[in-house]
Symmetry: C2
Subunit: 165 residues, 2 copies
Amino acid sequence: QRNKVRGLATDRNVAKVTVVAVPDRPGIARTLFVPLADAGINVDVIVQNVSHDGTTDVSFTVPRSELARARRLLEPVVGEMGARELTADESVAKVSIVGAGIQNAPGYAARMFGTLADEGINIEMISTSEVRITCMINEADLQRAARALHRAFQLERPEPEVAAA
Amino acid sequence: QRNKVRGLATDRNVAKVTVVAVPDRPGIARTLFVPLADAGINVDVIVQNVSHDGTTDVSFTVPRSELARARRLLEPVVGEMGARELTADESVAKVSIVGAGIQNAPGYAARMFGTLADEGINIEMISTSEVRITCMINEADLQRAARALHRAFQLERPEPEVAAA
Ligand SMILES: C[C@@H](O)[C@H](N)C(=O)O
Ligand SMILES: C[C@@H](O)[C@H](N)C(=O)O
């Protein structure tokens, strides 16, 4: 089975925003993202996991240059909706493996997570799609993560014929 | 501005698994996904948000036919790693808007979330990539969600449902 990973994408120009403990009811997600959209702020990754006790966190990333603006827009909104607080983190970076059919091929996520684990790199957030597995990590770990993932997925050579999974 | 949304993807054949309160340290993600990969279980969406007090949740979806097997494999692992518990939910469905450049185009997420909000549909999980915004919702809401999203994004009549491979 051919190596499906075609490339690695990294992005250091990201800031992570987390709206902590939002009420888990219809309309909340829209209330957070409409003001950002109206202001033309580019939201990149959005992650929300399951709720507990009626609340959950909603995190997203924006370019670092947009962080101040995003915070100014959302702080009043966050208060009004009864969320606990808004936190932000500029020392994150995004690293993704990209390739067709990744998501449904067992082993790619495990290999990506294992590679980062072997480097002692903590995975702060995970988001996936059919063609991409994205991890947010500490910015200080990005170069090491990229090198290790390139090696693990054999990205410097032409596509190998041997099963990679 | 051109409509970037090319289509809607829905999947009813999903079960959601959440490993609750895993320790947020390197190696944990690998410890969860290697056994699933070795067993050839197709993991589709993976979502992990930021941690609080050193723990976070890791959720993922599998085809419903794989749920029992995934649980059997992971229950001992979950205990050993000191996570709180493993929960599963079979009454979920996945709905995604798909299109080039969605992620960086302000407004698409807001419109998708707003459309679901207008239908009173609760968004249980969110995961995004550059070309896809995916929401997990209650399975009972899927048909109504699909119709409303088709209308909101001016897509042609609803595609027949296709389960993920
Ligand atoms: C938390 C948020 O996603 C909420 N469940 C909503 O539907 O808007
Ligand atoms: C929670 C899990 O992702 C952990 N942070 C890890 O790096 O494996």
